[in-house]
């Protein structure tokens, strides 16, 4: 396969080689850290000690570190918390986004212009961190998981993207549904949602990644370390080098090396992103650009 136009002529082999080398280097710079993380997470204590803290290619594979993570300590709880917050948050945020996008999609509807400006204005000016914190406090949401979900649930940018797609659905479909006696909620369910599945999926994935990666929200709003999600626990474990695993009193039990536990944690935090990544790449650049440009 070659998309090079004829009039360009053949490129010099040296140019091709240089380009390939540059791109390979760039890819290596991105991939190499992941290789180190995965290798270290499955390596044995002897090899890590011999190498001085990391392993590029494990000679012997052991999954002790992963077992350690999933055996009911703070880390396992934090994973459950992160999954829960991400799932509920994404559902809530996506519902708000799609509803608002459809509600604002009809140009002649009542108050549409005013409400749209109300939403778009938030793109220009963000409130400071302190007033938002005080608001969350005022509403009694401090130390609850709602503080991680609700304040960031609505983004004008996401609404704009979904709205753009809804407006691109052919008029005739709406007219036909209305002729058949469908109300707005029925139209949303039977016309809008089936026709904007791709954009809803992509925006939903972006929202989910945001919730999963959220680190400052819990730091700001949650005092109780028992409530901490994965990102915060990972910070304590990996960056502050504070690996606390439940003391194994079983005689003869050899705890996995701290480095393995740390890297296993990083691997687990990355895994969900890697799982949704193929779906993201499939639609994202196209979806994001058309949504943003067409409006």
């Amino acid at each position: 396969m070659n998309s090079r136009p004829v009039w360009l002529g053949k490129p010099k082999p040296i140019a091709i080689a240089l380009k390939a080398l540059a791109l390979a280097l760039i890819c290596a710079v991105v991939i190499f850290p992941f290789l180190v993380v995965i290798s270290t997470s499955v390596a044995t204590k002897q090899q890590i000690d011999a190498n001085g803290g990391y392993v590029i290619w494990p000679t012997e594979i052991s999954f002790e570190a992963y077992k350690q993570i999933f055996n009911g300590t703070q880390v396992s709880r934090s994973i459950v918390i992160s999954v829960g917050v991400t799932a509920v948050g994404t559902a809530f945020s996506l519902a708000c986004t799609v509803l608002a996008a459809y509600g604002l999609s009809r140009r002649q509807s009542l108050f549409q212009r005013g409400l749209l400006s109300f939403v778009l204005f938030t793109l220009l000016f963000a409130p400071g961190m302190i007033p938002v914190y005080l608001m969350v406090k005022q509403l009694g949401m401090l130390n609850t998981y709602w503080s991680l979900i609700i304040p960031t649930a609505v983004s004008a940018f996401n609404i704009v993207i979904v709205r753009g797609f809804i407006q691109a659905i052919p008029h005739e479909l709406f007219d036909a549904a209305r002729m058949d006696g469908a109300g707005e909620w029925r139209i949303l369910r039977s016309v809008v949602l089936p026709n904007s599945r791709a954009v809803v999926a992509v925006v939903g994935l972006f929202i989910a990644v945001g919730y999963w990666n959220n680190y400052f929200g819990p730091l700001l709003y949650l005092n109780d370390t028992e409530m901490w999600p994965l990102q915060l626990v990972m910070r304590t474990f990996v960056l502050e080098n504070n690996v606390t695993t439940n003391a194994q009193a079983i005689p003869g039990y050899v705890a996995p090396p701290a480095q393995s536990v740390q890297m296993a944690l990083v691997a687990i935090a990355t895994l969900p992103i890697l799982c949704v990544y193929p779906f993201l790449t499939k639609h994202m650049s196209k979806g994001m650009l058309t949504g943003a440009i067409k409006g």
């Binding site: 890819c27 180190v36 270290t40 608002a100 939403v119 938030t122 409130p127 400052f216 650049s285």
Partner: protein, 324 residues
């Protein structure tokens, strides 16, 4: 970028030109559109609660805010918070650090996605191109905790690089906790995370260039370099200017989470920026008024920067974020 195109159209769509439309009574329209209003309600309420009211809540920048007394009980102090802010050397340090980091990022980071996009665009094999794209977009989706952990693993005291230097009898050097190198480290991390993602918009700009221009240039005898200089670059210019304006608007926002995670390693002298200053003064130390004043100042200056950059772009004959 989405702002200007999505504003409601000034002219309603031309319908019922033959029969002048009778105005639908307000109550009928309210009844007809009430489901739509209900749908918008959750988003509007959330924006009201967490964007608009906090915006008004910025008035505590002019108060000696005591959480116990609340908005109504706290005392008005005029510009006192701002004057104490301006006499605080820590604030000026934070501002100076912010400015330095922004400058470094504009000089070192900003051109990288442009160069990458141009390079990627010359890859003729679709499969190879898609593979490289998939790889370089990935880091954008990782959290800062992971990114910092990865960097520590590679560049930290016990990381791959230093182990390599030690085993080859070379002097190791401490990058992750070196205050002098901190700003460069931040920039490097930002490039690693987001330079690939940044290519999307520039690739789209290149793809929008009329291929006929390249063909004509080639026929006129232009080489690869001349085609780049006279066709590709001018074609990308509006987007480059746009992205630069948006970047300037964010000049005072420099990787808050990223810095917060690494601030302890190098100390506030090198790592304090406006956002961390606000966080530590307000949430940690409880100087709500001063911290809000710093946050408000940042918001206003950022808005002014966008407007100024846009004005400059117009002067230079570019379109900018919004039209005149």
């Amino acid at each position: 970028m989405a702002v200007n195109q999505t504003l409601p159209r000034v002219n309603p769509p031309p319908e019922n030109k033959l029969h002048p439309q009778r105005k639908t009574p307000f109550l009928t329209r309210l009844w007809r559109d009430s489901p739509l209003l209900v749908m918008v309600a959750p988003a509007v309420i959330i924006l009201l609660l967490f964007t608009y009211i906090p915006l008004l809540g910025s008035v505590i920048a002019f108060m000696d805010y005591v959480p116990f007394l609340g908005f109504t009980g706290s005392e008005w102090v005029g510009w006192a918070n701002f004057s104490s802010l301006f006499s605080d050397t820590a604030f000026w340090n934070a501002l100076w650090n912010t400015a330095q980091i922004t400058f470094l990022q504009i000089v070192l980071f900003f051109p990288v996605p442009i160069v990458l996009a141009v390079l990627l665009n010359t890859v003729a094999m679709p499969l190879a191109k898609r593979f490289v794209q998939s790889v370089i977009y990935l880091p954008h989706f990782l959290s800062w905790v992971i990114i910092v952990a990865l960097f520590q693993q590679i560049l930290g005291g016990n990381g791959v690089l230093n182990r390599f230097l030690i085993t080859h009898a070379l002097t190791p050097f401490e990058i992750m906790s070196n205050p002098d190198a901190f700003k460069l480290l931040l920039t490097t991390q930002a490039i690693w995370k987001d330079a690939g993602w940044g290519t999307i918009i520039f690739l789209a700009a290149i793809a929008a260039i009329n291929p006929g221009l390249y063909e004509a240039a080639t026929i006129d005898g232009a080489g690869a370099w001349q085609r780049f200089w006279h066709v590709t670059l001018p074609g990308m210019r509006p987007i480059i200017v746009l992205m630069l304006i948006l970047r300037l608007g964010d000049a005072l926002t420099v990787g808050f989470e990223q810095i917060l995670l690494q601030r302890d390693a190098v100390g506030p002298g090198a790592a304090e920026v406006l956002d961390t200053f606000t966080y530590f003064n307000g949430v940690v130390d409880g100087s709500w008024g001063t911290a809000t004043a710093a946050g408000l100042l940042k918001g206003v200056v950022s808005l002014l920067l966008v407007l100024a950059a846009n004005k400059l772009a117009h002067r230079l004959g570019e379109e900018g974020v919004y039209r005149r």
